[in-house]
């Protein structure tokens, strides 16, 4: 009975949302802000990837909020899961092939991750995507060899410093009399690696933070036992 009601209401939701969608002027987004940003962004931020300039420039504080959310989630997950007991049983090690390939994969993933992060202002990709790959880089060996303990101290150090770095770059502008998170440094030439002022630095901070955060989360989840 309840399922029937639920389905009925779900169908109702679909119907009404479609009714609303039918009112849209399909195919002609108003793009009041979007157009202006497209016009001004290359000059204002110097990033070829305009999404990046929006993410880190125009909506930089959103990104700050976002990494804070990720940080909070991992903090909360850590709080919820607690620390693992050292004597807890672990999964058996996986085979040698997997372990060796994991060792090979680690530097590769690291390089790819940093590449994506550092080219975030030029090509698609950036801190989030690169950060995920970094996390994977740290996590793959762990998966291959569950016995290894994660260096939580190191992770939290990176995590904290990267987050602080993002804010400090923002505050630097503030103390120079500009607005919080205002891009600093020379804009450089559009399309070059060293361009777009502080944006790549910000993306680096984001990438490191996301990477460390997610690696920590994964490691936490992967621990097979938690204290009661």
């Amino acid at each position: 009975m309840r399922n029937l009601t639920s389905l009925l209401f779900a169908a109702g939701l679909a119907f009404f949302l479609l009714v609303i969608a039918a009112r849209f002027d399909l195919g002609a987004a108003p793009m009041l802000v979007g157009d202006a940003i497209l016009q001004e962004a290359p000059a204002e931020t110097g990033a070829a990837n305009i999404v990046t300039s929006v993410v880190l420039g125009y909506r930089g504080i959103d990104t700050l909020g976002e990494i804070a959310i990720l940080f909070t989630a991992s903090l909360a997950a850590g709080l919820v899961l607690g620390r693992r007991r050292p004597e807890a049983s672990r999964d058996a090690d996986s085979g040698a092939v997997l372990q060796i390939s994991a060792q090979l994969l680690f530097p590769l993933l690291l390089v790819v991750g940093f590449y994506i992060i550092l080219h975030g202002h030029l090509t698609p990709g950036g801190g989030f995507q690169g950060g995920v790959i970094l996390a994977a880089a740290f996590f793959v060996p762990l998966l291959a060899r569950p016995g290894t303990s994660v260096n939580h101290t190191g992770l939290s150090l990176v995590e904290g410093l990267a987050g602080a770095g993002f804010i400090l770059i923002g505050l630097l502008a503030l103390f120079q009399g500009k607005a919080f998170l205002q891009p600093l440094l020379d804009k450089g030439t559009l399309g070059m690696l060293v361009s777009a002022g502080t944006l790549p630095l910000l993306y680096l901070a984001v990438g490191l933070k996301v990477g460390a955060e997610l690696a920590g989360l994964l490691a936490n989840l992967a621990d097979s036992e938690v204290d009661p």
């Binding site: 999404v51 950036g126 989030f128 995507q129 994977a136 996590f139 992967a222 097979s224």
Partner: protein
């Protein structure tokens, strides 16, 4: 191209329904990542490469990893899905 989009979206919706209907949890997780993957291709077609990359890395990759890990922690990592028949049965009653 619209046919491709139609195909992808159809696949996405089908996978989404499969998430709710499939009895096996691993299959459900797999279906979720299919949704994400299809979505990321849709994003590419919608000229959103950044979003596509993120969706692929986060939605299809990381999120599936997290789900799989927690499946293991929850003791639901059964291919046949017969160890906890009552949960599997009650999983969805659509």
């Amino acid at each position: 191209m619209i046919w491709l989009l139609g195909l992808l979206i159809g696949m996405m919706l089908a996978a989404a329904i499969a998430v709710l209907v499939l009895e096996n949890h691993i299959a459900a997780v797999a279906a979720t990542s299919i949704v994400s993957l299809a979505l990321s291709v849709v994003f590419v077609l919608l000229r959103a490469p950044d979003v596509a990359m993120t969706e692929a890395a986060v939605g299809a990759g990381l999120s599936s990893l997290i789900l799989a890990l927690s499946l293991r922690r929850l003791g639901l990592w059964q291919i046949e899905g017969d160890k906890h028949p009552e949960i599997a049965k009650e999983g969805v009653d659509a």
